[in-house]
Subunit: 351 residues, 2 copies
DNA sequence: GTGAAAGCGCTAACAT
DNA sequence: ATGTTAGCGCTTTCAC
């Protein structure tokens, strides 16, 4: 069927199909949209013309006129392409949205730069995406208020939004960091260091909070437990680790506040030859972590759950759910593998 | 400025802005598109109205009418969300396209399922994306011929397309696998096993080809070097490794034909306690590979280069480049870390 | 400098 | 069961 049509290089429109099959525009539209009440004969003729011309409907035009105005596309803003957690959430959203729903995703990352957030969101809104899943990075998301009134649903992920009242899905950063800390405290550590990402990142601040909470619950003075923030790269984390361990009264245990930070700590501990004498619990799982020696104990997040639940909330809103927006806390899981179970070295009992 | 406007929840259009500022539709259009020949006074009035109404242009409508018909969006089809190489290419494309170009990416993955390829491409074409970067997964891409005539540029990545003549950017799979194999041969190994992904995947087949080529160049009979294909998961690769090493006359060295395959091999070697007596070179780098013991020697691909070059080719075509389509081979790099430099164990010299 | 009319490709609402 | 008319939100063309 459908011999190659050379001639015109212009993309065929519905009008061309109508002309070729000798019916009206509307009838072609009916066939394309599989509406009933079209005779089998006409369906055949139109289908043949579509095949012959290689006609493909233009979704832009359709969505422009169609009531409801859906474009079957959602926008996604993740924090950073270098963060494995963000990448995993991105994939989870794409999978959840593409499978069965026939909706596409326009994704973008702002690399933790607050000023890119609004710029990127504007770009998505000009494309009239049906909804938005975004990682709040700027101090306020109030700029989205009117958009919400116009009917575009928004779901925040990984961090609590400010200035708008929308659904939010995030890991329990505080509880996770507290669990990591308590895990070390339970093994006798009393000089524990916390190494965190940029203090301006809400999730990083929450994890520090969890760390301090756990110390407080045990009555451990936080003065003996150094907190270093603003470590936004593996290298920075490695340097900070070396500095801490070479300093006076070095910590016997470390909580790595983020994926890349933990890798930096691992690198530094190995360079110093201290990986078997300094306990380590990392926030966020790492690939191959189980094969290291010692294997790395981590507090694993559940990026698949975060992505999937965010998509579910968004589509519930699109389908009319008008209940009060809420926050879903996705639990974390502590996975003991060795590095977090290292004891306090002899003679360094109570810092 | 811009007091909150309550009342109507309908999204404002250019018409609303025109009415509020007391000018014609066309004049608003001029202001929005920063066309010259508009008096400063009118610009101010229109801008105020835009602010007050929270007007945002509709890119769909614009692109529909505008000559050139660009939607400032490209489509990307990657092989699989579980493949780190594909994920890295995806990120590279997104970064290259978003920065400075103000173009968005609609990405999708077909999880190596040939039938999803065409379905996904159709979805992208209905959205009238400006161009397509895709990983060929089905036996032929001839279905794209007419689309190319209509002016949509296409760039293939990771695998050579069939049935269409378009630009292609891929790693030098054959040379990379040959280098991995030669690395082991040079250290005396003569019983080397190759474990590969699905034989239907072109890149997997190319790597097997490179393996066999390297054996041939040294005059090593391929009969003594087992090739196991169709290992599409870490678990399958681990099982195959165990089987090989428990069998008669086990290999002294292994080439892991793909990321996840290599991880499976690592797992199996450790379970068998053979990680220090069986040499291993993996295709594709792995995070933390340097921290394992022994650290894993790999042939690293350059996903950033693949993504970036594909984007460059695509935009060159969009800007009118009509030269003959060509293929860019991105070189791979062998990174010796330990596992690939293990010697042949005593007494197992010449298999 | 500004505006009115036509139309991008399609669907809604109403014919018949 | 099929066609006609209007119009989605915008830009083009051409007039003033």
């Amino acid at each position: 069927m459908s011999a190659p049509v050379l001639g015109p290089t212009r993309r065929p429109t519905m009008k061309d199909v109508a002309a070729l099959s000798g019916v009206s525009l509307k009838t072609v539209s009916r066939v394309v949209n599989a509406e009933p009440l079209v005779s089998a004969d006409v369906v055949a003729r139109v289908t043949a013309a579509i095949d012959q011309l290689r006609y493909r409907p233009d979704d832009r035009a359709g969505s422009l006129r169609r009531t409801g105005q859906r474009v079957n596309t959602i926008g996604l803003l993740v924090s950073s392409t270098s963060n494995p957690f963000a990448v995993a959430v991105h994939r989870a959203v794409e999978v959840a949205v593409t499978r069965e729903r026939d909706v596409a995703v326009i994704a973008s990352s702002a690399d933790e730069l607050a000023e890119f957030e609004q710029r990127t969101v504007e770009m998505l809104l000009r494309r009239r995406v049906d909804g938005l899943i975004l990682t709040p990075m700027s101090p306020s998301q109030a700029y989205l208020r009117d958009e919400l009134r116009f009917g575009t649903p928004v779901v925040a992920i990984d961090r609590t939004p400010v200035g708008i009242d929308v659904d939010c899905v995030l890991s329990d950063h505080i509880a996770g960091a507290a669990a990591a800390t308590e895990h070390l405290l339970a093994r006798g550590h009393r000089r524990i260091a916390f190494l965190g990402d940029l203090a301006t990142i809400q999730s990083a601040a929450s994890r520090r909070r969890g760390f301090l909470d756990a110390l407080g619950a045990r009555g451990v003075p936080s003065g003996s437990c150094p907190v270093v923030m603003d470590l936004h790269s593996e290298e920075a984390a490695a340097r900070a680790t070396v500095e801490l361990l070479r300093g006076e009264d070095p910590p016997t245990a470390i909580v790595g506040g983020q994926n890349l930070v933990t890798v930096g700590v691992v690198r530094a501990l190995r360079e110093l030859g201290l990986q078997r004498s300094t306990a380590l619990v990392g926030f966020d799982d790492l690939p191959l972590a189980e094969f290291l020696d010692p294997a790395i104990t981590v507090v694993a997040q559940d990026p698949e759950a975060v992505g999937r639940i965010a998509v579910e909330r968004l589509f519930a809103r699109l389908e009319g759910d008008a209940s009060e927006p809420g926050t879903v806390l996705v639990p974390t899981t502590l996975i003991p593998r060795g590095s977090g179970e290292l004891p306090v070295p002899e003679g360094r009992g109570r810092g």
